[in-house]
Symmetry: C2
Subunit: 199 residues, 2 copies
DNA sequence: ATTAGAAAAACCGACTAACAGTCTGTATGA
DNA sequence: TCATACAGACTGTTAGTCGGTTTTTCTAAT
């Protein structure tokens, strides 16, 4: 029951953080929901903050698993790249996550999520971009730094649901240019992101 | 003494937020420092959060005033643009601000600062970029969206003191490309930012 | 012009409720 | 018997409240 209990607590915490927000979820509420005592909670975790970190790690890990599938797929490099970037953002059926992250009481959660995403996403994207450079589709140096910027833009632009068609247009244009891809080669992003987020 | 008192309280709060961090500064500590009672504090402000908002507004307003001076200066457009962007970030003698913003206990403050900065900075930069387009130095559409991306990158990249030469190189390259400036026309950024932040 | 007195603005500090985290245990299984 | 797993009363700190007091400002009658 030990590993199970910890995981069970994390799942309860996750659900409550998403539905109520991190700041608005007290440890007392979590243990009431889990029907355990305070001492038990602090037997498994050092702090509420540690729970947040673990919850976010789980969230990102799931996104990474989905995103990873694009690497082996038999599709154009550009589509792999964009597939990964969009997969790293909360998907349609995780719309409540996007809403939660963007809530004013979840600033801390949001920040930790984005930081971790950039960290994990960079490793994935590096493979793709190197492949693209080898095939002559991309042309750029300082790959990791460019990926970081790419993920920063994606994070800040697309995780509030307040972006416009023009935002996507500029993001596509900038992505093409900063990777040295040919103009228009990533135009399909617009459909993907538009469909994924606004649909 | 009424307007003065409010301003005095904001200045005390500002100093304490910067030196101790927002989360680590309690209202009790602020009123002790100001030598007033709790009721007085809440006579002037609705919440601790409102104080944070007001403090940040003041901070950004000061940065905007400095940045605005570049508009009238007789220097190349590229230098105006970069001058403004770098002015919007905490300057050398405000290094403690940068440190505070990046502290783990100041996530909320940091986020509000960046959001407000993008809001205020966009208006300033728009003038410059239009001027650049008119003079044939820049060449791009969707100006406001590009500015937003530019400020997002600048914010996320440069306000922790953890960026490298390569980060600057990529930022310069991306900025040139996304505004349609000629290659190398903004190379001087490296010195500016490097000197400003790492010196 | 002076002043009583009413009204509004500025201020006080004890109080509450909610919270994260602690501590001293007890039960249970190897 | 020893470590793992759990319990729940307790503490200290916090943001925010509330009923009351002082100080200032305005009004009006002398």
């Amino acid at each position: 029951m030990s590993k199970n209990r910890k995981q069970e607590l994390l799942e309860i915490a996750y659900k409550m953080f998403i539905t109520k927000g991190y700041d608005n979820t007290s440890v007392d509420e979590i243990i009431k929901e889990a029907d355990i005592a305070k001492g038990t909670f602090y037997y498994y975790f050092d702090s509420k903050d540690e729970v947040l970190d673990l919850v976010i790690n789980d969230m990102i890990d799931k996104e990474i698993i989905v995103a990873s599938k694009y690497i082996e797929m038999q599709i154009p490099i550009e589509q792999k790249l964009i597939g990964i970037i969009t997969s790293l953002r909360p998907s349609i059926d995780e719309k409540n996550i996007a809403i939660a992250l963007n809530d004013d009481t979840n600033i801390k959660m949001h920040r930790k999520y984005n930081d971790k995403l950039i960290d994990s996403g960079t490793k994935l994207l590096k493979e793709i971009i190197l492949e693209g450079i080898n095939k002559g589709i991309f042309n750029c140096n300082n790959i990791e730094e460019r990926i970081k910027l790419l993920l920063i833009m994606s994070n800040e632009l697309f995780d509030n649901n307040n972006y416009s068609e023009k935002d996507i247009e500029v993001f596509v244009d900038t992505t093409e240019k900063m990777l040295g891809a040919s103009k228009g080669s990533m135009n399909f992003i617009a459909n993907l992101i538009g469909g994924k987020y606004n649909g």
